[in-house]
């Protein structure tokens, strides 16, 4: 037993607080929008130039001029504003966005993040990820705990090129939740349903403190 993609997204959604401006990355982070509590008022930012991102359009509402950072068609809300990429990253770099939820390939126990490149193999680019982790107040990573073959992704040091150094504040995996505090390292604070501490230890290379009872 462990969390599936939707349960991980639902757990990440609990990090969103009332009044937050939030940027959601591509993949599982996008699903977070489906799990935001009704009583919580959150404004979603899309780094291609929009604040106040709405849901996917109905078939007859699709507009080629209205997409999110994953190039998916979306809709606007009554609160929506549009702006240029320079303005968009001014609000990101300038620390005006409260929370960013991103995917990752590797995270180190110091909070280093790697999520944009596999040398010689995958050439896609960092997009806005480096700016987001450098500028946003709080960075939450949602990722599978280990690779399909069981290789750990939470490591002492990342092996892949970094997106940012000591930038991750929280990691949510299918096995549980970790907090990372600069200079203090990684702490397991929550276990997914049906998961015990030994399950986590077996699939983790990073050192971590345990702040849950098994």
């Amino acid at each position: 037993m462990a969390w599936d993609r939707n349960q991980m997204a639902a757990r990440a959604a609990r990090e969103l607080k009332d009044g937050f401006y939030v940027n959601l990355g591509i993949g599982i982070p996008t699903l977070v929008a489906n799990h935001i509590d009704e009583g919580i008022d959150v404004t979603l930012q899309s780094e291609n130039g929009m604040l106040g991102m709405g849901p996917f359009p109905y078939d007859d509402e699709v507009d080629a001029d209205l997409i999110n950072a994953g190039k998916q068609t979306i809709t606007e809300l009554r609160r929506t504003s549009y702006f240029s990429s320079a303005e968009s990253f001014a609000m990101i770099r300038g620390g005006h966005i409260d929370l960013s939820v991103l995917g990752a390939m590797e995270v180190s126990e110091k909070g280093d993040l790697a999520n944009w490149m596999i040398p010689g193999k995958m050439v896609k680019g960092m997009g806005g990820a480096m700016d987001l982790v450098a500028g946003v107040k709080r960075v939450v990573v949602v990722m599978d705990h280990a690779s399909k073959s069981g290789a750990p992704k939470l490591l002492h040091e990342c092996s892949l090129p970094l997106t940012g150094r000591a930038v991750v504040d929280m990691v949510i995996t299918n096995l549980g939740v970790f907090e990372i505090e600069t200079g203090k390292g990684m702490k397991l604070v929550e276990l997914a349903s049906g998961v015990c501490i030994d399950d986590v230890k077996e699939l983790t290379q990073a050192d971590f403190d345990v702040a849950v009872s098994s």
Binding site: S46, E47, N48, G49, M50, P55, F56, P57, Y58, D59, V62, D63, A64, D65, L66, I67, N68, A69, G70, K71, Q72, T73, I74, E76, Y82, F83, S84, S85, A86, S88, F89, I92, R93, D112, G120, V123, K124, G125, M126, G127, G128, A129, M130, D131, A134, G135, P161, L162, T163, G164, R165, A166
Partner: protein, 234 residues
């Protein structure tokens, strides 16, 4: 001086040369200068350095210029949507300089604003910082990035007038305003050229001073990922 040209081919006449740097507005396929990209291909110009957030897809947008090998180097933040790009790059046929998206946007903004360099914390501690000057401000480390000025910028807007004033629509604005300002010469293609005075002066996104030539053109506006939701039955 007349800024309105009859079509994309005429609008690029006399502006292109081999080895030039071209900025191309748009995010994915949203807000790209579809017609000017095709006209640029048809000039036969080669060894281009193209500054664009993305590289189009295989059969649309900047993908056209990759097919014909007219691009020597790309400066981009994300190129994941283009298989031909990946193939040319991994085979060593294409140079690629990855810039973080915000750094790329700011390099264009700075270039257009006469700012040759700026410090940013984006990329500190990563390979993006390699070889770049570092400086501490208030106990935090920043890296020096440079402004970019292009030989030619091609941008897409929703509406424009004969003075070159431009208005963009929704998320099709993206990189277009900064790239318009950062071009030694900027050519804009718009969906509609409207009579002078019909754009609200308070709502102009790009003032005409940044635009030297303008055309009205048809746009396919291809959608990369058509995502929809089901209507709940009444």
């Amino acid at each position: 001086m007349k800024k309105i040209f009859p079509d994309a081919k005429a609008a690029l006449d006399g502006l292109v040369f081999d080895g030039m740097m071209v900025m191309s507005g748009g995010f994915g396929l949203c807000g790209i200068a579809e017609n000017l990209i095709i006209a640029l291909r048809d000039t036969g110009v080669t060894d281009l350095t193209v500054v664009s957030n993305n590289a189009g897809i295989d059969d649309f947008g900047l993908g056209y210029l990759l097919q014909t090998r007219q691009i020597k180097k790309m400066i981009s933040s994300y190129v994941g949507e283009n298989k031909e790009f990946e193939r040319q790059y991994l085979a060593g046929e294409l140079e690629l300089e990855f810039n973080p998206q915000g750094t790329l946007a700011e390099r264009c903004r700075a270039g257009g604003a006469g700012i040759p360099g700026f410090y940013t914390k984006t990329g500190v501690g990563t390979i993006i910082a390699d070889g770049k000057e570092q400086k501490d401000f208030g106990g935090e480390t920043y890296i020096l990035e440079t402004g970019l000025v292009s030989d030619l910028s091609i941008v897409k807007a929703w509406k424009g007038d004969e003075q070159g004033n431009l208005v963009f629509r929704k998320t099709a604005r993206n990189f277009n305003p900064m790239m318009a300002a950062a071009g030694k010469v900027t050519v804009a293609e718009v969906e509609e050229i409207v009579p002078l005075g019909s754009l609200n002066p308070d709502c102009i996104h790009t003032p005409g001073i940044y635009v030297q030539r303008i055309i009205q053109a048809e746009h396919e506006k291809r959608i990369e990922q058509r995502t929809v939701r089901e209507r709940e039955s009444a």
